[in-house]
Symmetry: C2
Subunit: 340 residues, 2 copies
């Protein structure tokens, strides 16, 4: 099994300044990994020279003339994407030169191009963006969709549950508890979308569906996989970041530049700071696009070197677990069951 990751070296707010050091770190930490960097060769080599890693045996560069800007609409990105670092990285996966693609570029463009270049798995209506979120008991929880689909129907939401379940099962080793995010726990609560999807999940023997959970239970370890549409998931995740930032601000204001207060705060609240770190998007970096014929990991645009390395590790993890194939197999089983 190959372990080659195609990295869009131009993506994100900082481009090669972050992607290249992240690539070098990732190679250092995984001896079996190979990386192909897609982007402006002079910008990439400048960074590699600075790091004294110009001739790394497991790193190659493919020059690309174009970059898809952060403000480009997905439809525009599709039309004018030829030769762009993002598209060429995806094409490397499509033709088998790489086993996964990682990009910190424009999310909408990445989703549109991924669908166009890699295509969906059979039976998948829409790919979904999934990520791990922190958890009160330091266990794993996955939330999807995080914004790939601003409006969904019940079938799509059901597929998200199946795909999320497959991903979680790979880590947990048991059948994950799947819940729908809703505005109440009782069956009567919610909109038509969640109610219809709840019925489908309750009928499906392959999914360990545990019912609705509410926003305040996201981090409570009540469910392993939490399913919602992309609008709700995106708002919910970003709201969490907003609250975490509110606290970080508060702490900073309280401690100020006083080194004594800093020391005491660190002693007293090591665990609190870890939690705040966990809710920092850079830490849970590496949201995966599920449902495609290939592995695509989206990094935060603002990711730093460590965060982008996390996204690369996420891609390696998915390559090793053959996530797309497992999703495809499971969907086939579930859909067969639903129809016969």
């Amino acid at each position: 099994m190959g372990l080659t990751v195609a990295l869009d070296a131009m993506g994100g707010d900082f481009g090669p300044q972050v992607t290249v050091p992240a690539a070098v770190q990732a190679l250092l930490h995984s001896p079996e990994l190979k990386l192909i960097l897609f982007g402006d060769i002079s910008a990439i080599t400048t960074q590699l020279t600075l790091l004294n890693k110009l001739n790394h045996p497991r790193l190659s560069i493919v020059h690309c003339d174009n970059v898809i800007a952060n403000e480009t609409r997905p439809s525009q990105a599709l039309r004018h994407s030829k030769g762009s670092s993002m598209r060429m990285a995806l094409e490397a996966v499509a033709v088998g030169d790489a086993d996964a693609c990682v990009s910190a570029g424009n999310t909408g463009a990445l989703m549109a191009l991924s669908r166009y270049v890699l295509k969906q798995l059979p039976g998948v209506e829409r790919p979904a963006l999934i990520s791990e979120i922190p958890n009160r008991n330091a266990n794993h929880t996955w939330l999807l969709d995080l914004g790939a689909n601003v409006s969904c129907d019940a079938d799509t939401l059901f597929q998200f549950a199946v795909m999320g379940s497959v991903v979680a099962e790979q880590t947990l080793g048991t059948s994950p508890r799947v819940a729908l995010l809703n505005i109440g726990e009782e069956a009567i609560k919610g909109n038509d979308l969640v109610k219809r999807c709840a019925e489908m999940l309750a009928e499906s023997p392959d999914i360990n569906y545990i019912g609705y959970i509410e926003g305040h239970q996201l981090y409570s370890d009540k469910a392993d996989v939490i399913v919602c549409d992309g609008f709700v998931g995106n708002v919910s995740l970003k709201t969490s970041e907003g609250v975490a930032n509110l606290f970080i601000d508060c702490i900073k204001r309280n401690i100020g530049r006083n080194p004594f207060k800093r020391l005491i705060a660190k002693w007293l609240f090591r665990e609190l700071f870890n939690s705040l770190q966990q809710l920092n998007p850079d830490q849970y970096n590496g949201a995966s696009l599920l449902g495609l014929r290939g592995i695509v990991v989206k990094s935060h645009g603002s990711a730093d070197t460590t965060a982008l390395e996390n996204a690369i590790s996420q891609a390696v993890y998915e390559i090793k677990r053959q996530i797309p194939m497992k999703i495809s197999d499971r969907l086939e089983e579930v859909l067969l069951e639903r129809h016969y």
Copy 2:
């Protein structure tokens, strides 16, 4: 102007054990307030006797035989609500015996009964639930809808913006900055609902519309009024509670029962604790149902005495500002402008 509040004394998780002491406190703190308690007379008098306030000159009791249970569906509540404490409190507002109703009971039932008993203001399609949320700079921010409407159209969302703007203006004294909650700041982002509503808001000269904001900006003081549908608003608010609870848990685990650590933590993080308190639903208690021909304030079911007193204060505030009349006037202006 009267200042009479009808209190559903049976609502909430604790009923008269919380509502009666809250009523007594509210009377103590506002010398102009009169309260009518609706509920089981023996349960209410038991509590009043404990507090030695059996014959308070500004407190009266109306006995009700029924209570609407928390798990009752809105449709069921409507059919079987006669003689219930919630309905009788609302009827007191409808006939002019009280100027506002406060209940910590079943939210769905309260909304359904409010619409049935009080009716909507002319031109209002659907009432919305609004509440203040904390803010980085300790200013005011309002979020609506918090769950009254699980699905909305653009006209409804537009009306929420108008109603929220009226409420905020009463406190701020200036034209409030109104934003739509979305999954991106750029005009191309979001679902059809927010895009259509954004167009309507941008065209409206009466609303100081500032564009989209994202979940992480909810508490950032970028907008005074943040508008979204009830599903998104509810998930977002509850997610915030979830994150706050995650931190509170962490702090508790860190400090444990060590009194020395407690003392230092209080000294170091007074402001942080205040923020956590602010995100505690009991503190921002008192969500108002806007768009009705009367004032209805919904308290959290789990509210304690102080929190329920906050909800009563919120009702008093709205009576003094004549919020329903001001909403009605503003809506008439805005709708006239849109149609001519």
